[in-house]
Symmetry: C2
Amino acid sequence: MAKGSKKDSADLQGSSLMPEIRKHYFLDEYCIIAAERRKRPSDFMRAKSPAKDEKSCPFCPGNEDMTPPSVAVYTDQGVLVDGPVKIRSWKMRVFPNLFAAMVPSPTPPTTEWIALPGHGHHEVIVDSPLHNDAPADFSQEHMELLLKAYQDRYANYCGLDGVKYVSIFKNWGEEAGASLSHTHTQLVTLPIVPPLIKRELEAASSATFCLFCNIAERERASSRLVAQNDGWILIAPFYSQVPYETWILPRRHMSNLAQMDDDDRRDLAAILSHALRCIRSLLNDPPYNYMIYQLASNYHLNIRIQPYLSKIAGFEKGTGIHINSVPPEQAAAELRSRLPKG
Amino acid sequence: MAKGSKKDSADLQGSSLMPEIRKHYFLDEYCIIAAERRKRPSDFMRAKSPAKDEKSCPFCPGNEDMTPPSVAVYTDQGVLVDGPVKIRSWKMRVFPNLFAAMVPSPTPPTTEWIALPGHGHHEVIVDSPLHNDAPADFSQEHMELLLKAYQDRYANYCGLDGVKYVSIFKNWGEEAGASLSHTHTQLVTLPIVPPLIKRELEAASSATFCLFCNIAERERASSRLVAQNDGWILIAPFYSQVPYETWILPRRHMSNLAQMDDDDRRDLAAILSHALRCIRSLLNDPPYNYMIYQLASNYHLNIRIQPYLSKIAGFEKGTGIHINSVPPEQAAAELRSRLPKG
């Protein structure tokens, strides 16, 4: 068979270390070619890397030198920034991701199709100094501090030049994409509004009311309600892509975490902890992802938790439609049954 | 915390065994609640089921009684249909999926949000009678017969009342979603055009030429070309969601497999086998999915192969943007290096 020979400019890009955002040939869809994380075929071989212990874990106290300097360190004395002297007794650390999907100063790609420089920031938020700590075990105070960190880091990037979106998400468990077991959250800023959000905004533009306020109002009265408190509701959404998917919505309209007051944060910490504990109790500590959907304005903040229980296979990849074997009404009933009494 | 109590009609649906297609609250996105496949939390516990051997494999010759009756059996005598007497020496079998995501006669769902009955068909195509046969090992003749079966089954459903789309896909390897290791393909008919295809059609509606013909023409001359023959090209697409993703495109404009002539089928069998062998050789027999994108008309058939090498994690789920650590130009070069000489 004949083989491709003629080089094109994308080659140069392909060999650069700068991440780039490539647009689909003709759709408003994008992928990120993160050459900084470039892998060789051998990197994909199924040799399972042994779990790191406290000594070798770069996220553990005492190993701060294994990571880039912190941009924010949460301690009893408040929020600090790494100086020449490392801060040892911390409750949470934030530093740039070593394998960034976005970087502050990428070189512009030159290809015959459309691509944008991968301009942005990619941070790791170490949620806890304890190597074996689990988000479902966080105290109310601890979860509030984590949400405070999310608020701070979001506020730090929201509105920044060239930042169109701030994605905050947690991967828990190796199957859910956590490369290190030490609990952590990631933040990625993007120079574009991602397709999922863009489609929501397009739908909202033709509506005369907030679509998420409507969901919150109606699902509160449905059999898909899992829990609620003064500020928030936890539901198994009517449109559930995966078994036991849940959404957390603020009852009061707000666009992002930075708009939370202390009461909102207290209530969100409570309901997020509830959600994580119910999922762990019902499903034997499954891997999961949670994603925070938010925008600077004209949006309704929402948090989606997806346990990793079923595979995304050919049908999903070929149609964009997920097959979910657990009706959300059943999921909600089973999750409700796990809520602590009283 | 208060708990959801008020039942709604979706409850009834949730407790029925009929699959339903649920529309996103406000987006043109859908998920399938396949209650026929309903699972309990315990079904998701990580106890790994031991691989089946020839005796217990329902896809093996002699175990035909473990599956529903065949709707098509491919033998040396041609294509037959199961009668009272089971046909033993077969090369390929097609029968309805026991755990169907779509069924011919679902009951209409009644919910306060939008849902459609899961009207359709869900078939299993057993690619080979040999329990340990691998698609990458299929002979040219065998692969042509498989493509013939795809053509036949597609033609059988395409244009049928209520069939808006026919999804044909293969899951190879447990991590890629293959619940049984015995090589097989699945076919699902849908009463809607899936979102992925719908967005392509919307983009195409404003174009004055075939978008895929354009891709084929331009990528043929790029460093992303992996292989080509008289009828088809194999590329690592500029927009590659996952490492070593490849697309197969016909050089001649055709909308679906049923439009292939014998030469087209011969050439497609050759290039598909090439693709599967290069991927297996380069990446140590990775799990993979391939998906066939096709429509009755006004479309350009394409086949996408995605090896399962990296996790779909919080970032992808939160933005719809995939992070790919291998530039397609590198993937193409490495795949080309695995092509049999001459």
